[in-house]
């Protein structure tokens, strides 16, 4: 197991290197650039050239890349040019990280705790009302664009009915104490329960929006997988032993049926990152996705590089975690 993890981490380093190379080149080939974004269209050629020199953009791309790589190894990923001008890109990443983690974790929890039971019961009552209904719901989940769902939810629940806040992470008037920058957690730790509740209210709509795609995917995989497992001989054996429905459901059906679901959840983390960009933009939620969208519009190279590399690393790590979890729940892999 340890050798497996080490090998995967070495692979991760290689992947990150390749991603950084592609990303670096691609960004610099994009039309527009930080100079236009910072100075606007009408700056004189002299000012442009001066800024280009300050930013090091006058050198050839390979030279720039080696420079970047050398700095990166020493933990220096450059400075934000636009998103938060002058802030170290890595600092900016860590500032924004808790917001997105809080949102994604809540969205993933929402997706998992609704999709798995629903998938199970839909399969149990295959062809019934619940089954048909939830299949349609999951189709809607994948078919409706994330930003559209976000706008609709925001329109009704915030603008029309004033039930939930339309944007932000927390009401600044609360002046909440910060410890971890996970606002809900901070509220609980400091016993500022109103602050925790307010942060949670800000999370609900974005989390539902972000959960829609993973929900639909996890639901469909669970349903298909349970349908298959219910027909397995070992479920019949379990029934022939007169076991309780609870044991049959948990130990014999779900334990087997969730194996493919676990892998799917890992892959959904990728979708979550994409979804976060759209969701955070719609809800003006100050997380990584929001920063990424801004950085892209304004060609903030340093910020883009850090965020995309971090996303790739996060994706690799989560899937490594998923593989480890898989080995733990599937003895056929563990005992090979």
């Amino acid at each position: 197991m340890l050798r497996f993890i080490v090998r995967r981490l070495l692979q991760a380093v290689l992947v990150l290197f390749i991603v950084s190379l592609l990303l670096f080149t691609w960004l610099r080939k994009l039309p527009g650039g930080p100079i236009d974004a910072i100075l606007g269209e009408r700056a004189t050629p002299e000012t442009r050239a001066a800024l280009r020199k300050t930013l090091g953009l006058d050198q050839s791309i390979p030279v720039q890349y080696l420079h970047f790589l050398n700095n990166a190894i020493h933990g220096n990923f450059g400075t934000s040019t636009q998103v938060q001008t002058g802030t170290d890109a890595l600092d900016l990443f860590f500032q924004r990280l808790p917001a997105t983690v809080e949102l994604s974790v809540l969205a993933l929890i929402l997706a998992v705790i609704t999709a798995i039971p629903l998938g199970y019961f839909a399969a149990k009552r295959h062809g019934g009302f619940l089954d048909t209904g939830s299949v349609v719901l999951s189709l809607v989940g994948v078919a409706v664009p994330v930003f559209f769902l976000g706008f609709v939810l925001k329109y009704f629940f915030s603008i029309e009915w004033h039930m939930l806040p339309p944007a932000g992470r927390q009401n600044p008037d609360l002046d909440a104490t910060r410890i971890t920058n996970f606002y809900v957690l901070d509220g609980l730790l400091t016993r500022e329960y109103d602050a925790a509740w307010d942060a949670l209210k800000h999370l609900i709509l974005p989390a539902i929006t972000l959960a829609s795609v993973p929900f639909a995917v996890i639901f469909r995989i669970t349903r298909a997988s349970v349908l298959e497992v219910l027909n397995e001989d070992y479920v019949r054996t379990a029934e022939s032993k007169g076991l309780s429905e609870r044991i049959i459901r948990g130990r014999h059906v779900l334990h087997n049926a969730l194996l493919p679901v676990v892998t799917t959840i890992g892959l959904q983390v990728g979708a979550l990152l994409t979804g976060a960009v759209l969701t955070e933009t719609v809800f003006g939620y100050p997380g990584l996705g929001d920063a990424l969208a801004q950085a892209f519009r304004q060609r903030d190279y340093a910020v883009l590089q850090v965020l995309i590399l971090a996303a790739a690393l996060g994706y690799i790590l989560v899937n490594l975690l998923v593989d480890v979890a898989y080995a733990i729940i599937d003895p056929r892999i563990r005992t090979r």
Partner: protein
């Protein structure tokens, strides 16, 4: 239309199946009758064979008795009286209490019949925990003894292993341990050796025989192989197209098989003393050639002794006129006593 039932169940009958009929089919379609008016008795400690080719309704019969048929898409009629209670009328909870405790079952394919992600020990122990109210640790200790009893070497180690780590024979032994864990009074074995190597088959059959004799468990042995029946069963029911075509005590059946189908099955048993180049007689055709029982004898299209009446009238199950013992037969033109294949 249905055959007269055998003599009413006597008090020493453990299981009495009467006119068991199972139909499959979705609404609107003509239902398919997989089991049609099957009746037989099992006395305590007795071993009864249910024999027939693939598709003749053996598994459906046993699943119906166990209450394990799919919840939808089938209709079960008749009765299966176990110890005074008709199992077919029990609700889900009552049946769950009996399965694994009073009536247990083992299946054909030991690998697919075991949960791949749960250790052998837990799969045995869970029956004990469920029906005997044992705590996990006590149940595991008992499971170890059970594995030992069914002849699994090094049971303490095997307890912690998973199905893929065991050989086919050991897996079937583990399934037998689970089935017999709560000392059920009836065990249904649905082709327990079909998926195993020939050498292992005999071992498993001997083990089953030993265990049921020791514990006084009655056994319904389902097989397509009359050879298995010969070594094991007291009574034999031969099934064809969902109906019993011949029933007799083992000696009687082997001494004077009367139904042409039974003769055909006997002819396809390899004999150790048979001449080397002797061809195994197979019954020509397949179950697919069945005609429905309502328009004559279902076996007629494949039968070498079929006469006109066979295609016109459905034979009923009756006491064989020439036999001395109980011997039921459903045939218009049976082999004379001592008939040959």
């Amino acid at each position: 239309m249905t055959a007269p039932s055998p003599a009413p169940a006597t008090t020493d009958t453990l299981l009495s199946v009467r006119d068991l009929t199972v139909e499959f089919g979705t609404k609107g379609q003509t239902p398919f009758r997989a089991v049609d008016g099957v009746s037989f008795d099992v006395r305590p400690g007795q071993t009864v064979g249910l024999v027939g080719e693939s598709g003749c309704g053996k598994s459906v019969t046993s699943l119906a008795i166990m209450g394990l048929l799919p919840k939808r898409g089938n209709k079960v009629a008749g009765s299966a009286t176990f110890d005074g209670t008709d199992l077919l009328t029990l609700d889900d909870r009552e049946m769950r209490d009996r399965r694994g405790r009073d009536v247990a079952m083992i299946f054909q394919d030991p690998l697919s019949s075991l949960n791949p992600v749960v250790s052998i020990g837990v799969q045995v122990a869970e029956v004990l925990q469920r029906h005997r109210g044992m705590k996990k640790s006590a149940a595991m200790a008992e499971s170890r003894d059970l594995l030992d009893k069914v002849g699994i070497p090094d049971p303490s180690r095997r307890l912690k292993e998973y199905p893929h780590q065991l050989s086919g024979g050991m897996r079937q032994r583990a399934l037998i341990a689970m089935a017999l864990a709560c000392k059920p009074r009836l065990l249904i074995a649905d082709e327990p050796t079909t998926a195993l190597d020939v050498t292992i088959q005999a071992q498993i059959l001997n083990l089953l025989k030993e265990l049921v004799v020791d514990s006084g468990t009655a056994l319904i042995m389902i097989t397509h192989d009359l050879g298995v029946v010969a070594g094991l069963c007291d009574e034999v029911n031969v099934l064809y197209g969902g109906r019993i075509v011949e029933t007799a005590p083992r000696h009687e059946l082997f001494a004077s098989p009367r139904h042409p189908y039974t003769n055909g099955l006997l002819g396809s048993i390899p004999r150790l003393d048979g001449a080397r180049n002797e061809q195994l007689a197979a019954i020509p055709g397949s179950v697919a050639d069945n005609i429905p029982w309502t328009s004559g004898c279902a076996f007629a299209p494949r039968c070498s002794r079929a006469i006109d009446v066979c295609r016109a009238e459905t034979p009923s199950l009756e006491q064989d006129s020439v036999a001395i013992e109980d011997h039921l037969l459903r045939c218009h033109n049976p082999w004379p006593t001592g008939g040959e294949a």
